[in-house]
């Protein structure tokens, strides 16, 4: 078992920002251990050169390091072939690649099935296809913040070409039953895409067992550098797909009137890739594998348990929190509000009496007051506006945990929340 209490020592930022810094925004981006930062420096200081096409040794070294990073990431998510990993900037680019490439073949009346808890990255790229008459449907959630599987089943139709679902909600923390959704999608003949942005960093993920056709995730949320992310895709599907961006590296031959494409995955990696980023991500994968993803998952679950128990102990007036209460189907994300502020409605506005009444603290004020106590949480719609509206909130505050967080960090959250309520109810 990892020594969770000592993990912060591997992360220079905790050393530099000191004892009083409590980082609870890892769902937005994670901190980076020395090993990842050093992998970047080491690449630039010893191996830096462009990949592919160079036949001098340095370039072969860089190509080799880049290729090994791909293999490493591939193994990490249970992909049987490194060619199934396309390096992109982030989850968002991975999903856009799919929306552009798969979307090209969709026609008016075709349907895409999402859920109401999707991140904007898994909504907006598909909305671009609406202009050609493609329709988007959203599976709803139940009262407890889980996905309503009946609603999902009822919204799938013979026209549903794509089902794209987040593995773990970045607001509710809900872990969706993706293998089951995959069966429903495949039985229906639909392509099944999983947004793994919040799962790959936090739990063992095996694309084979999930049975997804594609999975998107970001390096920066799993200890890796910014600028690198991955699209996993089944090789037979990637091979059939049209490329997304055109340019260097992704071609076989270019003539003035036409071009032919390189093999997968290069076909989808136009231009000089983020070579150092891929190498940094590989170092992050090594770090996580060394901890053990089962352990990482247990740690996250334990922090959620502590969160729920401190929540009841603290009894903060007006505290509302969102998402499933069962830590087994819950990622380490805790979104909450102090009092509920509904979106302003123009119809009701005559009866409106403002918001500054009772035990209601706006999420901004929560984040700001917590920040004053050294606790970094995010507030807003967390790039999930449809979900925020669905739970009838203007915004939420969100604490999200990762491997370096400790029970003490959770205690600090609740102490600071108590302080916040005091400030705003004076």
């Amino acid at each position: 078992m990892p020594f969770w209490e000592r993990i912060k020592e591997d992360f220079p930022i905790f050393h530099n920002l000191g004892e009083n810094f409590t980082y609870l925004d890892s769902a937005a981006t994670s901190q980076k251990p020395y090993s990842v930062i050093n992998a970047l420096s080491d690449f630039y200081s010893r191996h830096n050169s462009n990949v592919h096409r160079g036949i001098y040794r340095l370039s072969e070294e860089a190509t080799d390091l880049y290729g090994r990073s791909r293999e490493n990431v591939s193994r990490f998510i249970g992909s049987s072939d490194p060619r199934q990993i396309v390096f992109v900037r982030n989850t968002t680019e991975a999903l856009n690649l799919l929306a552009y490439s798969l979307g090209h073949d969709l026609v008016e009346g075709d349907e895409i099935l999402l859920t109401i808890m999707e991140h904007h990255s898994n909504i907006v790229p598909w909305q671009f296809l609406q202009e050609k008459g493609v329709r988007i449907k959203y599976a709803d959630i139940r009262e407890d913040g889980t996905l309503d599987m009946d609603d999902l089943a009822s919204k799938i139709s013979p026209r549903t070409k794509i089902v794209s679902v987040t593995h773990v909600s970045n607001v509710l923390g809900t872990i969706n039953p993706v293998a089951e959704i995959g069966r429903i999608a495949h039985d229906n003949g639909s392509i099944f895409i999983v947004d793994g942005a919040q799962s790959v960093p936090h739990m063992p993920v095996d694309v084979g067992r999930i049975g997804c056709d594609f999975m998107a995730f970001s390096g920066h949320k799993m200890l890796g550098p910014t600028g690198i992310g991955c699209l996993y895709g089944r090789i037979d599907l990637l091979e059939k797909m049209r490329p997304f961006m055109g340019g260097g590296e992704m071609i076989r031959e270019v003539y003035t009137d036409h071009s032919t494409w390189a093999d997968v995955p290069e076909k989808f990696e136009a231009g000089t890739p983020d070579i150092a980023g891929a190498i940094g991500l590989s170092a992050a994968v090594d770090y996580l594998r060394n901890l053990g993803m089962e352990n990482v998952r247990d740690h996250g679950r334990e922090l959620m348990r502590i969160t729920f128990s401190l929540e009841s102990e603290a009894g903060i007036p007006g505290l509302i929190s969102y998402g499933p209460r069962n830590p087994d189907i819950r990622g380490p994300v805790y979104a909450f509000n102090i009092g509920s502020i509904h979106p302003m409605s123009v119809e009701e506005s005559l009866a409106d009496r403002g918001v500054g009444l009772g035990t209601v603290v706006h999420p901004h004020d929560v984040a700001s007051t917590l920040d004053g106590k050294g606790v970094a949480v995010r507030s807003g719609h967390h790039c999930a506006m449809p979900l925020t509206h669905r739970i009838n909130a203007v915004a939420t505050s969100r604490a999200s945990y990762y491997i370096y967080n400790t029970p003490e960090d959770v205690r600090r959250l609740f102490h600071s929340l108590e302080h916040t309520v005091k400030v705003y109810s004076r």
């Binding site: 302003m344 500054g356 706006h362 901004h364």
Partner: protein, 128 residues
């Protein structure tokens, strides 16, 4: 109480019991301003006579900074000329609140001023 705590108290008073909160029926001008980054909203209603702000009300949703700032601003400009209102500089609002805000909360603080000045412009009182 430190100076900062005192100013915080003032802001919170405005937030908890906002001055000039509500709607004006048949206003001279009305405008809703929205900060997409945080979702804060301020809606301004004005009655202007002889280039003077005879009445101002606001409604809104948002944090203590945006709503408190709206309350303080409406106090400040009631009875002023439109030219005076148009010439209020962002720094004045930040000073009026008097708390260390940081860039994103500064945007909250300035939302009501932006709403007011846009509203006046929309009604044709902008400087030429």
């Amino acid at each position: 109480m430190t100076d900062e705590e005192e100013r915080m108290e003032v802001l919170l008073d405005h937030y908890r019991s906002p001055h000039n909160y509500g709607k004006i029926e048949n206003p001279t001008a009305e405008l809703m301003e929205y900060n997409p980054v945080c979702g804060d909203t301020v809606q301004i209603f004005l009655i202007v006579e002889n280039r003077k702000i005879r009445e101002i009300k606001f409604m809104g949703r948002g944090c203590s900074v945006s709503q408190g700032s709206a309350s303080m601003l409406t106090d400040l400009v009631g009875g002023k000329t439109v030219d005076e209102a148009m010439s209020i500089a962002p720094e004045q609002i930040v000073d009026m609140i008097g708390l260390p805000l940081g860039p994103s909360r500064e945007k909250c603080a300035l939302l009501p001023l932006n709403a007011l000045q846009k509203c006046l412009k929309k009604a044709g009182f902008g400087k030429v």
